[in-house]
């Protein structure tokens, strides 16, 4: 397996949507390729960081204000 072929399957590997056989081939490639190993681990970390950190929070005060505005309009039939 070449690095290009590995890269084509990177997302499926990350999303755990490869067959056991394909996974074995990917793991075999990883054993001998530092480049792809780093690409895989840091791409996984990238997703994890974005998932676990809310970069656009909705402050409680603003949330209540927006919520009240929405519901007031809904009660009037919009």
């Amino acid at each position: 397996m070449t690095c290009t072929e590995f890269l084509a399957l990177l997302d499926d590997l990350i999303d755990d949507s490869v067959s056991a056989e394909t996974r074995s081939e990917l793991q075999l490639h990883l054993k001998g390729c530092d480049h792809c190993e780093v690409t895989l681990s840091t791409t996984r970390k990238t997703i994890e960081i974005y998932r676990s950190h809310e970069i656009y929070d909705l402050p409680a005060g603003l949330r209540e204000r927006l919520h009240a505005a929405i519901m007031a309009r809904c009660k009037k039939g919009c």
Binding site: M1, D12, S19, T39, T42, T43, I70
Partner: protein
């Protein structure tokens, strides 16, 4: 090419000389598939036939032949393949794709929990429980026709359910079953209550999804005031149009679709009429091939305060082309499935997959500036140390 040849040889080596005698195979399309077929030997209620469109009119003939053989075509996309009222559905694939090494994923395998027809090309995905795939080429690959039709069938008299021993793959875990397939999503009852005049039920729906809608709006508009407006407008529009909600998708994905459209409209206004679409700037080659080989330290975010980290993450994702950014946010941050993301953005599944890969790789490369391991140390090197920046 060597890999393709090897994959093809491996595939052919496992092919039986004649169609297998499997009583559990549903052969409703057997006669209509003279060129090549993949029979999915399924448990007692579902079988899949993967067939090259060899004969003219295959698509028209086969569904008609199906009921006579005791099965019916069912809708399967992203959902369990047992819905009694599902519409017929077929998908077309490129033959070249199936000849690629990626197709090796469909080689026979015992205990396969699902038919996985996604892979690189992002073609299809479903949850049919499958015991075994049997590949049966009759003609040489080279003479195979140029397209393929995937048809899923189930017995018309079946009342079976998916066996519990087949866990769904992780990628599917974000998909919630629609009403009537397993158990109704809680939102379905809330939507019905709202339709019946219970406004407080809508209150519950707003509180459930307001944070996500606000985040998505801010990611697209990159402006807090616009995000506030979009959030209000999206919820109000959803309320007004609730009668149009068909229930074919989750309420949440329907709501996200409204919010995405509202966000894009807001951007257009801001740019005084300039067209804004999710196709903007997606032709960039950046991130297609990883360049930065530097590894990151374990937990590299620990080197930054929460506010510093949030700023880094904001700046980094804002630098992505909009078409990549939206796909990444919906798929990886908000947890929509690939199919839901495609539906929400009116993109094809392969387009979503392609954009997602490039978005992930671009973000990874840009974050490397901040998180890479310092040489000779396990510490990360902060962005201020003079490392060349690719942020803009």
């Amino acid at each position: 090419m060597r890999a393709v040849r090897a994959a093809r040889a491996a595939l052919l080596a496992r092919v039986p000389a004649a169609p297998p005698a499997c009583p559990t195979v549903f052969r409703c399309f057997e006669d209509a598939v003279p060129a090549f077929a993949v029979f999915a030997v399924a448990f007692d209620f579902v079988a899949a036939v993967f067939a090259f469109e060899a004969a003219a009119g295959f698509e028209g003939e086969s569904p008609a032949a199906c009921p006579a053989n005791g099965c019916r075509i069912i809708r399967t996309e992203s959902r369990l393949a047992t819905h009694p009222n599902a519409r017929p559905e077929t998908k077309h694939f490129d033959a070249k794709t199936l000849m690629s090494p990626l197709y090796a994923a469909f080689r026979p395998a015992q205990g396969v929990g699902t038919i996985r027809v996604t892979q690189k090309m992002g073609l299809y995905e479903t949850d049919c429980p499958v015991r075994e795939f049997v590949l049966h080429p009759v003609r040489d690959f080279a003479s195979a026709p140029s397209s393929v039709t995937l048809v899923f069938c189930s017995r018309s008299d079946s009342s079976s359910t998916i066996p519990n021993e087949f866990p769904h793959p992780r990628a599917m875990s974000t998909i919630q079953p629609i009403a009537g397939e397993l158990e109704p999503h809680p939102d379905v009852a809330l939507v019905e209550q709202v339709r019946g005049g219970d406004v407080s039920a809508y209150d519950t729906l707003v509180r459930k999804y307001d944070r996500q809608i606000f985040r998505i709006a801010q990611h697209i508009t990159q402006n807090r005031e616009d995000a506030e407006d979009v959030m209000q407008d999206a919820f109000l529009k959803a309320y007004e149009k609730l009668d149009q909600f068909q229930g074919n998708s989750k309420f949440y994905t329907w709501l996200v679709r409204i919010a995405v459209n509202e966000s894009l409209m807001r951007l257009r206004k801001r740019r005084t009429g300039k067209m804004v679409s999710i196709d903007e700037d997606v032709e960039t080659e950046e991130g297609s091939v990883p360049r930065d080989l530097a590894d990151w330290a374990p937990d590299p975010e620990q080197n930054y305060s929460q506010s510093e980290l949030a700023e880094i993450l904001r700046k980094t994702i804002q630098g992505l082309p909009p078409g990549f950014r939206i796909v990444f946010v919906l798929r990886d941050v908000e947890g929509l499935s690939t199919e839901e993301t495609a539906e929400t953005l009116s993109l094809s599944v392969p387009a979503v997959k392609s954009r997602l890969l490039r978005a992930r790789l671009q973000l990874r490369e840009r974050l490397s500036r901040y998180f890479r391991k310092k040489k000779g140390s396990t510490e990360t090197r902060p962005g201020e140390t003079g490392v060349k920046s690719d942020l803009h």
